[in-house]
Symmetry: C2
Subunit: 203 residues, 2 copies
């Protein structure tokens, strides 16, 4: 098995953090998105979708999509579970995971893609859309402050993949779109610092 991986982008980091929490080690092949290495023909022959990260199995089968890779790893190494154990816990993790993806990650990523000079060559940038998405990101951050006042981790009392999704989002995008994680959202900041202190955050 090998993992095609980029050191900078937040999505590959989700998988690295997931693997570190599981204590699973998979050889990595660096594919530097910033240098366009994912667009090379040599990569497309292994990974037709040209996405990073991607997991290549020993028979050449490729799994792309970070969460699909994480589910595969969870199926092979069930514990410590990061998608929940009981039916209800799994549903809760999925609910929060999706909230963090659609309500937090997407607005932050859209605000970045549609405003940052570095993305101008890759994206048909629409500044009005960037502004609207930045506003949504700020609103969700304020809502997250309330969520984290009710439970110590994103999906409840236990660390889960939803924490990884929210953490890798907030570790990457806010400064790029001019949003601060500071004393205006103290619960978020406390939670963020707690997750950043886990060994997996260095993966």
């Amino acid at each position: 098995m090998k993992l095609y991986d980029d050191a900078i982008a937040p999505t590959p980091r989700r998988v690295r953090m997931f693997l570190a929490e599981k204590g699973v080690d998979i050889p990595r092949v660096p594919v530097t998105i910033g240098k366009g290495e994912h667009l090379a023909e040599s990569y497309a022959t292994r990974v037709p979708s040209r996405r990073v990260p991607a997991l290549e199995l020993d028979d050449g089968t490729v799994i792309s999509e970070s969460v699909a890779i994480c589910r595969y790893i969870e199926a092979l190494h069930p514990e410590p579970n990061l998608f929940g154990s009981t039916a209800l816990e799994q549903a809760r993790v999925e609910m929060w995971q999706r909230r963090m993806e659609f309500e937090l990650l997407l607005p932050f990523a859209n605000a970045f893609r549609h405003s940052h000079p570095k993305m101008a060559a890759l994206e048909n940038q629409v500044p009005a859309y960037a502004a609207a998405q930045k506003q949504l990101a700020e609103q969700r951050l304020a809502m997250l402050e309330g969520d984290l006042a009710r439970h110590p981790f994103i999906a409840g009392d236990k660390f889960s993949i939803a924490d990884i999704t929210a953490f890798t989002t907030l570790a990457f995008f806010p400064r790029l779109v001019g949003i601060a994680i500071d004393e205006r959202v103290p619960q978020v900041k406390q939670w963020f610092d707690r997750i950043a202190a886990r060994p997996s955050a260095a993966a």
Copy 2:
């Protein structure tokens, strides 16, 4: 258990179709989004996120997010499985499910939200963004034509939740944004007609 459900929107339809494929019957409580019933205080006391669909368990616990509801049902009634059985099959279903959500559903939904007169009151509409998203939706549809030439169902040889996601997307959005599922994408049309003929499509 009861399911808060809207008869028109594509997301509640995903859950109804999933339940019908499983042969699981859950009493439904209609919440008509078109009449703003999901915004009423009486709904928010049961479902704080005000989202539809939502599953209320007998102890009052609420699961929102359609895919979280589906996973809960799959955990209680594993067969026929719609999220895959082996580790690899589960990973493949997740990969395709996410492709259909992020690459097909999202551009269609964004094109609709940012262009349709009915959405003008709900959305800070950005026409240039609608146009760019419509183009992405058309590109993904052309790519889906190739995908479905390689395998009869979205995620491979077996019907899965990824088919439900793609089907409910293509049954709702295309005509609203001026895209046709016709002889230009014959594989997609054949697959669509095949899914539409399943009893669950009437749920």
